[in-house]
């Protein structure tokens, strides 16, 4: 774990964002297993330090775009449990009125321009938001989250080159969780570090331990500062793991086929970002454990309340299929 000189307040902020993601996602996993959630669900458990570390370096008016594994990004950017959970249930009170679902949550109020079911689909959009900030002369920045698998899509290449060429305030955050679905990242490319590709666009490529929020945050902050000051994009590669499968329910779906080595699963467990930060906080005596416990209970309570909110929310009216069409 990085030893940090960050104020305790900031560390607590990071921890809170991560724990909010963790508890939310645990509940989502449970609800899915109970058959309560429709559709495909991809959890962010194990990757919390990336979303939290990056979003803690952002302002409310900064932009992010996300992926199919997007719950963590919404929460890290300040999203609302109730509206998220309701969306996962497909309810009228959800972020997208039940039209989006797990892979398509957005919250434009907080600059969250959308999760995306298409791998690599958000990089161009984030570049455009960066273009917009640059054009309007604000110092907003834009972040594109994406996976190791997405780094092999043409959209990755085009977006990084475009943002670099126009020197736009965009930070490309690659969450390298070592797998694209069931294919190891290293079988889908002939290099070990995706950050190496940055050189091909003339931008900095930074590698960071994506299970260490205290490492992610300063790296992100540096990239954000660079972008805000008009020096253009950064490719930030966060090495991380997903604790669970690619998607919920995959064990049954794969009919017993395995694709990860037990060592890998253990390594992921050993580097659990939430536990690591918790341990650090406690070991450094930054925050009294009871306070952390209370925080956890609060969050857990909010998640439970969100489930209640979602469950008791009405289904969307059929007539709503004709709403939100043309302006």
């Amino acid at each position: 774990m990085t030893v940090t000189h960050l104020p305790t307040e900031k560390i607590l902020d990071l921890y809170t964002r991560m724990l909010r993601i963790r508890r939310f996602e645990e509940m989502v996993g449970k609800l899915f297993a109970q058959g309560q959630l429709p559709g495909f669900v991809h959890l962010y458990i194990g990757e919390e330090a990336v979303g939290a570390g990056v979003c803690a370096a952002l302002r409310d008016d900064d932009y992010i775009t996300s992926t199919h594994r997007g719950h963590g990004h919404v929460i890290a950017k300040g999203g609302d449990f109730n509206r998220m959970m309701a969306e996962l249930f497909g309810r009228q009170t959800g972020y997208c009125k039940g039209k989006g679902g797990s892979m398509h949550i957005a919250d434009f109020e907080i600059g969250m321009l959308g999760a995306c079911g298409i791998v690599g689909g958000g990089l161009g959009v984030a570049t455009g938001a960066g273009l917009s900030a640059w054009y309007r002369g604000t110092d907003q920045v834009s972040v594109a989250f994406f996976g190791d698998g997405a780094a092999n899509e043409g959209s990755f290449h085009e977006a990084l080159n475009l943002a670099s060429t126009l020197k736009l305030p965009v930070i490309f955050v690659c969450e390298n969780n070592q797998y694209g679905e069931f294919t190891p990242a290293i079988h889908a490319m002939n290099i070990t570090d995706i950050a190496q590709r940055a050189a091909g666009y003339g931008i900095p490529g930074v590698i960071v331990d994506g299970t260490d929020a205290l490492a992610v945050y300063p790296a992100a902050a540096a990239a954000v500062q660079r972008a805000r000051q008009g020096h253009g994009p950064t490719l930030l590669e966060a090495k991380t793991h997903r604790r669970g499968g690619h998607a919920e329910g995959e064990i049954a779906f794969l009919a017993g086929q395995d694709y990860r080595l037990p060592e890998e699963v253990q390594a992921a467990a050993a580097s659990d970002p939430v536990i690591r930060l918790h341990t650090y906080i406690v070991e450094q005596g930054l925050i009294p454990p009871p306070q952390l416990e209370t925080l956890d209970q609060d969050i857990t309570g909010s998640v439970a309340a969100a489930v209640e909110f979602a469950r008791t929310s009405p289904e969307p009216e059929i007539a709503s299929i004709y709403e939100d069409t043309w302006v």
Partner: protein
């Protein structure tokens, strides 16, 4: 003869054709593990050389299929979901669908692109679209979407043996559908539709999931003394115009049912053709039943409402029979 699932039938077709012809190979995203269960087990039998996982790079993988097909192979390219073909659209339209003609007949392209099409997983717009209409418009691409285990096996085998590029669409919602599949080998000619229920009052033309919805509607209408003929085109391009026109000559009434969007969709094609070529047989206006003109919403309730239901199909039939005043 045994009852098998649609997915199992696909799997059998792939096994049989790969055993039969060493030039057949399978490339795509997570085809080894079989993320689309139709490809499961093939890697075990045929090994690394014939079952190739690729990076998530639809454009290049689609292009590689063209290059491989043009130089002696007979590739089956699995790109998972219909919408992912959007990323490969250029290579399909400008290479696969044009090369032979554009180069004056210098090559042939025995090439199958296999994806899942349509709604049924409540996975939101990015994983739920119907894409067949786009490829139907391309002059030299064949398009197939079977509705039963029997058909999917016979047609996939025919598609693999065909020397032209084929978009082979498995319907997303039909994977678990069971039906009789003969033990002995058989092929189904591309371009041949089938009357799935013969009737005398109205011709209903459809494909994929909509065949089943149409059959349900027909069953319901039977109670009202309405005798519906349900045609399953099976192949969308080239399509069995003769079968449809012949049926309309008998019934004098035509309902086109398609899961895609209406404008420039398959239902419009069928309706226009009938109106053009069987005008004098028609006793009532043709009628189209398609998805409502909106993206596919996530909420199962809304998704269901967007896609044609058996009730809507039944209503359309009543309408062309004049037994129900249009809304």
């Amino acid at each position: 003869m045994a009852r098998k699932t649609y997915i199992a039938a696909i799997n059998e077709a792939l096994f049989e054709e790969m055993r039969r012809d060493p030039m057949v190979l399978l490339i795509g995203e997570d085809v080894r593990i079989g993320v689309f269960a139709g490809t499961r087990g093939l890697h075990k039998e045929f090994g690394d050389k014939r079952v190739l996982d690729t990076p998530i790079s639809e454009l290049a993988v689609a292009g590689a299929g063209v290059g491989a097909a043009a130089t002696g192979l007979r590739p089956v390219v699995d790109l998972m979901f219909g919408t992912f073909l959007y990323l490969a659209f250029d290579q399909i339209a400008n290479q696969a669908g044009a090369m032979r003609y554009m180069f004056g007949g210098q090559t042939r392209l025995p090439l199958v692109y296999m994806v899942q099409n349509g709604t049924g997983a409540s996975a939101g717009h990015h994983h739920s679209q119907s894409v067949h209409q786009f490829f139907m418009n391309m002059p030299l691409i064949k398009v197939i979407m079977p509705a039963t285990p029997y058909d999917v096996k016979g047609l996939l085998k025919a598609a693999i043996r065909d020397d032209n590029p084929v978009i082979f669409l498995n319907h997303l919602a039909l994977g678990g559908q069971r039906g009789e599949v003969p033990d002995e080998e058989y092929l189904i000619p591309i371009g041949q539709g089938e009357i799935k229920r013969s009737g005398s009052h109205v011709t209903v033309c459809s494909v994929g999931l909509m065949v089943h919805h149409s059959l349900k509607a027909a069953k319901e209408l039977e109670k009202e003394g309405i005798d519906v003929e349900v045609i399953d085109l099976r192949t969308l391009k080239p399509w069995d115009e003769a079968l449809v026109l012949h049926s309309v000559a008998k019934t004098g009434r035509f309902v086109a049912v398609d899961e895609g969007h209406m404008v420039c969709g398959a239902a419009s094609e069928w309706a226009a053709t009938v109106a053009e070529k069987a005008f004098h047989d028609l006793k009532a206006p043709v009628k189209r039943v398609t998805s409502k003109p909106v993206p596919i919403p996530f909420s199962p309730k809304l998704e269901k409402a967007v896609v044609p239901s058996p009730e809507e199909i039944a209503d359309a039939v009543r309408q062309v029979l004049g037994t129900r005043v249009p809304a």
